[in-house]
Symmetry: C4
Subunit: 192 residues, 4 copies
Amino acid sequence: MRPDRLIAFTDGVIAILITILVLELRPPAGEHFGDILDEKGRLLAYLLTFVFVAIYWVNHHHLLQVVSRIDGRALWANIGLLFCLSLTPVATDWLGETGVKNGPAAAYALVLIGCAVAYTLFTLSLLALHESESQLHRAIGDDRKGRLSLALYVVAFILAWLEPWVSVGIFVTVALIWIIPDRRITRTLDTL
Amino acid sequence: MRPDRLIAFTDGVIAILITILVLELRPPAGEHFGDILDEKGRLLAYLLTFVFVAIYWVNHHHLLQVVSRIDGRALWANIGLLFCLSLTPVATDWLGETGVKNGPAAAYALVLIGCAVAYTLFTLSLLALHESESQLHRAIGDDRKGRLSLALYVVAFILAWLEPWVSVGIFVTVALIWIIPDRRITRTLDTL
Amino acid sequence: MRPDRLIAFTDGVIAILITILVLELRPPAGEHFGDILDEKGRLLAYLLTFVFVAIYWVNHHHLLQVVSRIDGRALWANIGLLFCLSLTPVATDWLGETGVKNGPAAAYALVLIGCAVAYTLFTLSLLALHESESQLHRAIGDDRKGRLSLALYVVAFILAWLEPWVSVGIFVTVALIWIIPDRRITRTLDTL
Amino acid sequence: MRPDRLIAFTDGVIAILITILVLELRPPAGEHFGDILDEKGRLLAYLLTFVFVAIYWVNHHHLLQVVSRIDGRALWANIGLLFCLSLTPVATDWLGETGVKNGPAAAYALVLIGCAVAYTLFTLSLLALHESESQLHRAIGDDRKGRLSLALYVVAFILAWLEPWVSVGIFVTVALIWIIPDRRITRTLDTL
């Protein structure tokens, strides 16, 4: 099967997830410009989720550029990824409301672990469908970046019980690693 | 008429339905990791609806792979299916809030009966448009799985008045039957 | 310009509008199956809006089948239609909450007048772009159904001040007229 | 990379943003037609955001007509634009709730400055990808309208501290400038 509809459905779900936190943003209670600062926790939480979900969309976009066919297993792996991504708004919301505490930091790390595992499973389901000489195999290689992220999330989950700010630092670091689009795929595409 | 826009609209509506329950997920009141358990009713309700709607999307996806044309009747049958699916979030929500009681279990069974009937009507409207030698006819055959599900939902509706937990067991069973994508269609597609 | 993106955007907006009222549906307060009846006002309001918006989507779908190009004016006429449609949920909500009273019935008629006028303007903007020998011109003809609906909405608006139930009867009547897809276009398409 | 999926994702996000404020529209508390006036603040706020977001969608639509390829930088510039646009509902909401005061008027100007800067960066990222002889370069020219808008937003931000009504006047003026689709692009397209 061709991946057209998987792509369209994913775009729809991610478009909703990325904007659904807007509903949590309330105008400040006061009338002064400075009152915006009262909402800075929610604003930063919104920005974090927005960037995080955008990263997954961009990587999904790059990945699907070199995918020529899918099957039922890939469909379900993708749905699993969407489910994990759909938990990021509520996890970020918890972090934004209570501040950086053990519980929400660990929960956030857990959601990120879920997303990373789901993305890896999705990638594996696609690799299984393409010959080892395919563009996809050349572009993905051994997926070092994916494994590194997963390892860092596990570290963040453990450290959340000791010092949650370190976990938040790890989240931001991994985000920055991923914000740079996958050069392996870009490079392969450039040679076309 | 070609089914392109019916597909796009369906993807849009299902993408919204599958994520709309996220809005019901609230961060736990406390700050401890264990406080997540206070929300496990809502989380399981969300998971159930997510899986359920995803099953319909996957089956719709497989079905439309072998559909080459639609008409006004198929459009309206599809809209009827979307309407029934749109009631699953509120039915699951009731089940999640009150726990497994007669009323919500029967209501949930009723919504599932509606979805199954609507999906069957949609399939019939498509079969009527395609020659009996078409890919669609060969792929669908006599739709035993569809009829079995409908029968089980009716049983679940009746048993909900005696022992609602049996109904929930039936819901999960039917979900598992459907989570395996329609092999009849997959088989036909594989031979292309 | 080709109408592809106008179609995709319209599908997205209508998919959201048609499902946004789901958020207003709350599970019944009690645990008994009969408690669903407490919510029948909201359920009927939801069904009415769902059918109403679906009618516009189906007619938009049929119309765009015979449209080969658009311009900036058509884009804005379409946006005007989407704006008017976006007011139907809140109008229905008012009708559902207060019951059939003068105010909400007149407001509902006003929103329907807005939708009908916007749809007519959109049709005119498309007719201006196509030669009089085009498929679109042959399919639309003189748009008697559109003008009849508009006249009936105006009657409903006036009668809402005397007897709002008559207005509701008119709403349902016009909905039934439109639920039958535009035979003029279907006929033209069938001859292709 | 081809811009297909960037377009689909943008359409999805904008379709949600443009309708998300509907959720803020509540039916009036009373039963009289005149009670609608109690909600006129929210209705005008909704109309303003709807028009504003629609303008960006129409201009994005026109711009992408002459874009033949994108890269990772353009993807992220587009995501930045979507983020800025996603703040318009809450900014308008503040303006609608408090009335035209210094704080919300300045905040609204700031969000508009963000959108204008993001749109300019997106345009620049696309110009960098196309040869100077391309349709895009001929169509965009030196983007005088974009620079003028940005300058006016900055003026509106400054004047918001003195007389917020002047800022609102500037917002409406710039909206009217943009509501006329980019003639430079239309002209280039007409000659195809």
